[in-house]
């Protein structure tokens, strides 16, 4: 019997029991739909991270004070006092280094007019806009002069500017208060969105690091150093940076680093890895529902074989060969799973779109996931359809005809 004919017979048989067919398909639809949605969510998260990595700046190397990975130097990040402005200055001479900015972080209450806001205060250096590839929207970034004199000048992130002075208002020249000290607003950054740890990068105020050290916190050390390398090959530059700092800190060969050097890629890869693991886990859980759907098909096919024993007996009696019957039932299972798979893909697209719309979570469906879901659906049909089909094909015609 030709395969086309077999398909037609299978469709007829499935059509005779529409309700059951649809319910059986439902398992497949939900399974495939769940897998697609989960993969779409995971891929969307991954794509977001990649975007954030790009927005964080190119060829970026971060140096943080302290080293939470090394035993013995276990200090909280930000608590360590191992980095100084001189360390940062020394890094400018490391081959391959383009920009360097010392950083001191703080938080505080800021006031302008009757507006009040609590935000991050990031003390940094003049290279900052170049390192982060982040242009100024209004006014200008602070100068070396401001850094040297620890001037009370502030460059606002767009969220802070919008909150304090209203959107699309140029606040340069205005006076605001940071921790009750008057600062002059000299610029506003363009909007950048989420950073690589999900924080809102625009909810920040930038001032010279010296200002944070002397006017706000009264400290000598700095928290971190941002370095950008000339080329994208950051690893050797990061190593050289580490060597210079070890030498400056007079660390012996066995001593652990009292700082941490990480390239942007390393930071990103950890997060990407985490997200990938999550995606795999979610897809695996969704895969279980696909498996359950497959078992559902087997269950129904077994019921169907039993129910249609007399039909099978008759077909055998009028000349169907074992393999004709096998193929007929196998094709029925495959038709159910493929149709279910197809509808499941549709459901996956719908669910992903819904999630994206309602929760503002980015999703992205990779084309090979569709192929895989479809292939997996077909494989489920063959795998779970084979046993019932073989059972049908192995029936004895006389006993099957006599079956009540």
């Amino acid at each position: 019997m030709s395969i086309l004919m077999t398909f037609r017979i299978a469709l007829k048989a499935l059509n005779r029991n529409k309700m059951r067919t649809v319910l059986t398909m439902l398992g497949m639809i939900i399974g495939v739909g769940a897998v697609i949605t989960m993969v779409a969510l995971g891929r969307g998260a991954q794509a977001t991270i990649e975007d954030q990595v790009k927005s964080a700046g190119t060829n970026l190397i971060n140096v943080n004070a302290g080293n939470f990975q090394a035993a013995g130097v276990r200090q909280g990040q930000g608590m360590a006092t191992t980095l100084t402005a001189d360390d940062a200055a020394a890094l400018r001479d490391v081959p391959g280094v383009q920009y360097v900015a010392a950083g001191v972080n703080s938080r505080g209450q800021v006031i302008a007019g009757n507006q009040n806001w609590s935000t991050r205060i990031e003390g940094t250096d003049v290279d900052f806009p170049d390192i982060r590839v982040w242009p100024v929207r209004y006014g200008m970034f602070f100068t070396q002069q401001d850094v040297n004199s620890a001037a009370k000048v502030a460059v606002l992130g767009s969220v802070v500017a919008d909150t304090l002075f209203g959107p699309d208002v140029d606040p340069t020249g205005q006076i605001m208060r940071i921790r009750n000290q008057p600062f002059k607003v000299i610029g506003v950054m363009t909007s950048k969105g989420q950073g690589s740890f999900g924080q809102d990068q625009d909810d920040t105020i930038f001032t010279p690091y010296t200002t944070v050290q002397k006017k706000l916190q009264g400290i000598q050390h700095i928290n971190n150093i941002s370095v950008s390398s000339v080329t994208a090959n950051t690893a050797p530059v990061a190593a050289a940076v580490g060597e210079v700092l070890r030498a400056r800190h007079k660390l012996g060969p066995g001593d652990p680093d009292d700082f941490m050097v990480r390239t942007q890629e390393e930071i990103a890869s950890v997060r990407t890895e985490t997200t990938r693991t999550m995606t795999t886990l979610l897809a695996a859980i969704a895969g279980v529902s696909l498996l359950v759907g497959g078992i559902g098909i087997m269950n129904i096919m077994l019921v169907s074989v039993t129910e249609r024993t007399r039909e099978i007996g008759l077909r055998l009696a009028i000349g169907a060969r074992g393999k004709d019957v096998l193929l007929q039932f196998l094709v029925e299972a495959i038709v159910i799973s493929l149709f279910g798979g197809l509808l499941g893909i549709g459901l996956g697209f719908g669910l992903s779109a819904a999630v994206e719309n309602f929760f503002q979570w980015p999703t992205s469906i990779p084309p090979n996931a569709i192929g895989m879901a479809f292939g997996f659906a077909a494989a489920t049909g063959v795998f779970f359809g084979f046993y019932p089909a073989r059972k049908a094909a192995g029936l004895d015609p006389i006993e099957a005809l006599r079956y009540e």
Binding site: M1, S2, L4, M5, I9, K12, R16, R310, E311, G313, L314, R315, L316, A317, I318, G319, A320, R321, G322, D324, P397, I398, L401
Partner: protein
């Protein structure tokens, strides 16, 4: 040479501790063109023999030659091909596929005979021919549950005819039918036997039905007790012409033409 030749055919069933000896050495030769009526008490092994002759079952021992070929040497697929092309089987319980039209039911054996490579129109034409030869051409689109018992049995006969078999085996084909319908169905068998020369072996409980055949075989306890030619064979066509027409079984449809009519319309 005999079309069918069985020697010392034995079939034993073992159910738990009990051994049922359904056939205890049956011997029979059937020549081409014969119409053998098989009778005998219930449980005497008639159906068992029929299933073996129809290649649906294998004997425990003994020999079965079909056209001189030993059936026991054939593979499962070869047996399937014989059931498909060479032998048409008609069951007491019709065994039509439900929710499947008469036409589709009749076409079914074609699907297992390379008929799927046949054009759909050609398959339909052949199925319509077969339905026509049992007088049901106008009911091709009906489902089994829309047909009377006699009509269903005629669809089953059409199905047995579709691959133009040389042998028809019928196990109590009139067992579920009333007298008038039985005569109709026997008329079809007689016509196929006489006009097309198809060899027929037919099981029946009723001695008067047996008289439509050319030869009578009587079973008893798994053996053939009587095997004789029928001297004054009955003629179903003539008897039907003499009988009053039955009430139409589907009142709103005048389609169920009296058999005398369709007997004339042989394709």
């Amino acid at each position: 040479m005999a079309v069918i030749s069985v020697k010392d055919l034995v079939k034993t069933y073992i159910v738990g501790e009990v051994t049922v000896r359904a056939l205890r050495g049956a011997n029979m030769d059937v020549e081409a063109g014969e119409f053998v009526a098989v009778t005998g008490p219930s449980g005497s092994g008639k159906s068992t023999l029929m299933h073996i002759l129809g290649c649906l079952d294998r004997p425990t021992s003994g020999q079965y030659l079909l056209d001189g070929k030993d059936v026991s040497r054939m593979s499962k697929d070869e047996l399937a091909a014989i059931r498909n092309i060479k032998i048409g089987f008609v069951f007491q319980g019709f065994n039509l596929l439900s929710r499947t039209t008469a036409l589709d039911n009749v076409e079914l054996p074609l699907l297992y005979n390379g008929g799927s490579k046949m054009k759909t129109a050609e398959r339909h034409r052949r199925a319509m021919d077969a339905l026509g030869s049992v007088g049901l051409a106008d009911r091709y689109h009906h489902y089994p549950n829309q047909l009377s018992g006699g009509q269903q049995q005629r669809v089953a006969i059409a199905r047995a005819l579709i691959n133009q078999p040389s042998i028809i085996l019928a196990d109590e084909p009139t067992g579920n039918l009333d007298t008038h319908t039985s005569v109709e169905v026997m008329g079809i068998f007689q016509r196929l036997n006489i006009e097309r020369g198809i060899t027929i072996i037919l099981i029946t409980h009723e001695t008067d039905i047996a008289e439509y055949g050319t030869r009578l075989v009587r079973f008893r306890d798994g053996r053939i007790q009587i095997d004789q030619q029928i001297t004054n064979r009955r003629d179903a066509a003539k008897e039907l012409a003499a009988l009053p027409p039955p009430e139409p079984d589907l009142p709103n449809e005048p389609a169920d033409v009296v058999p005398a009519d369709h007997l004339g319309g042989v394709s």
